[in-house]
């Protein structure tokens, strides 16, 4: 009961705890990487961020689908918020990634890695989502258009990845290959914890922003009612 009422607070708390745990594990427990040394630790942020970004995009697309299919009220707003978060986490991925690139490749950005470029493409795609959304008058029409565009996103991601796999690139490492993670158990555990932490953070932010948006819409209604 308490949980349902204070879902926001609960997830927020969970996120804090997990993040603390993850940081502790990363910096005090997990052994340093053999060849990359300290800089490899950014891996525990970088990859979870990236995967969480994907998760957000997926969630946004799901909500979009619900809006189109079932007309679920509020689904449009939820989809928007999810994609918004996705873009934020995507930006963080780009940043951590390029920091790591600076550390281990010596350059901030490498066009030679299709992985990077394609992530950039997705990032562009979802930035355009905002352009679209903010240049259409609010209303049912905008909700539909945004939703359709969001659906395009989840289709674009796999297609793009197919494209990269064709144009194989070598620089950007592939850890999660078909025969499971190629890394030490301790590393994998830490990775999982930090991923859980980031996910928790994402969902907390998601709920908070939603609550906020809902609040000020209802406030506006109130103000109008009073006038």
């Amino acid at each position: 009961m308490w949980l349902r009422n204070n879902a926001v607070a609960a997830t927020a708390a969970l996120a804090v705890v997990l993040i603390a745990a993850a940081v502790a594990l990363i910096f005090f427990w997990v052994p340093e990487d053999a060849d990359q040394g300290f800089s490899q630790k950014i891996f525990y942020f970088h990859v979870p961020l990236a995967l969480t970004a994907y998760a957000c995009f997926g969630w946004g697309a799901l909500k979009a689908f619900l809006h189109l299919w079932k007309r679920t009220p509020g689904a449009d707003l939820e989809s928007y918020v999810a994609i918004h978060l996705g873009v934020i986490f995507g930006a963080l991925t780009l940043i951590t990634g390029s920091i790591w690139a600076r550390a281990s490749w010596g350059v901030w950005w490498s066009w030679s890695s299709q992985q990077l470029v394609l992530f950039l493409v997705l990032f562009l795609f979802y930035s355009a989502y905002f352009m679209l959304r903010f240049s259409v008058d609010p209303g049912p029409g905008r909700a539909n258009i945004s939703a359709v565009y969001a659906l395009f996103g989840v289709v674009l991601i796999p297609v793009s990845f197919l494209a990269i796999r064709l144009a194989q690139d070598f620089i950007h490492p592939v850890v999660f290959s078909s025969e499971g993670p190629r890394m030490a158990g301790s590393m994998f555990f830490t990775f999982c914890v930090s991923w859980a932490a980031i996910l928790a953070l994402a969902s907390a932010l998601y709920r908070i922003e939603l609550a906020g948006k809902r609040l000020d819409t209802s406030l506006r209604e109130l103000r109008e009612a009073l006038e």
Partner: protein, 213 residues
């Protein structure tokens, strides 16, 4: 089924007729293609190999298409005519398909000019390239038309479409360039085909929501 086909035909024919009257799409596309070829003629001395030439060709094609797409819903938008089509009892996806086909016609027209010119000035275009272009056209028109409808509903219009379209066009560019540059372009043709298939389906399924509330 036949009804659907006739609707699509009617709508596409209407667009071709309009273009014949007002001519505000094809000439712009042709102009752009020619201009780009001229640019290449200067920018590509014999030294730089086919690869670069093919790359430029693909850039030219994508942007030419974009230039055409920008205008594709102009008539409907300016006069609120989309309402008229949306009110008609035919399936809304037919509107999309009709536009896409008309667009395809324009694009092919532009390429009928561009490819021979290209093969004269630079390097002959082989079968796979042509196949790649054909497949790419399908994808471009399918996706582009839907995005153009979105852009038409927005206030940014012409400016918005490139933003929406280019990220989605990347796989096409990869596939197309690959098909024409790499020795065995088969894989890339496959990629293009897959792209066309998937996006054609979701465009077909989702267009209705773009034009209705």
């Amino acid at each position: 089924m036949r009804r659907y086909a006739t609707d699509v035909y009617t709508l596409a024919r209407k667009d071709l007729l309009l273009e014949l009257r007002a001519r505000n799409t094809v000439p712009a596309m042709l102009l752009f293609v020619v201009a780009t070829l001229v640019v290449f003629h200067f920018a590509l001395p014999a030294s730089s190999g086919n690869k670069a030439a093919y790359g430029l060709l693909w850039v030219a094609l994508v942007f030419t298409a974009l230039l055409g797409l920008v205008r594709s819903f102009a008539a409907e938008r300016d006069q609120g005519l989309l309402d008229g089509l949306v009110l008609a009892p035919c399936d809304r996806s037919a509107i999309w398909l009709g536009k896409a086909l008309a667009m395809l016609a324009f694009l092919i027209l532009a390429e009928v000019v561009a490819l021979p010119a290209f093969s004269i000035f630079f390097s002959g275009v082989d079968g796979t390239t042509v196949a790649g272009v054909a497949l790419a056209d399908l994808g471009i028109c399918a996706v582009g038309t839907l995005l153009a409808a979105m852009a038409a509903a927005s206030r940014a219009r012409e400016l918005l479409l490139p933003l929406l379209f280019l990220p989605l066009a990347i796989p096409i560019v990869i596939g197309g360039v690959g098909a024409s540059v790499v020795a065995d372009g088969g894989r890339y043709l496959g990629l293009l085909a897959v792209y066309d298939g998937i996006f054609a389906i979701i465009c077909w399924a989702s267009f209705e929501y773009v034009v209705t509330e």
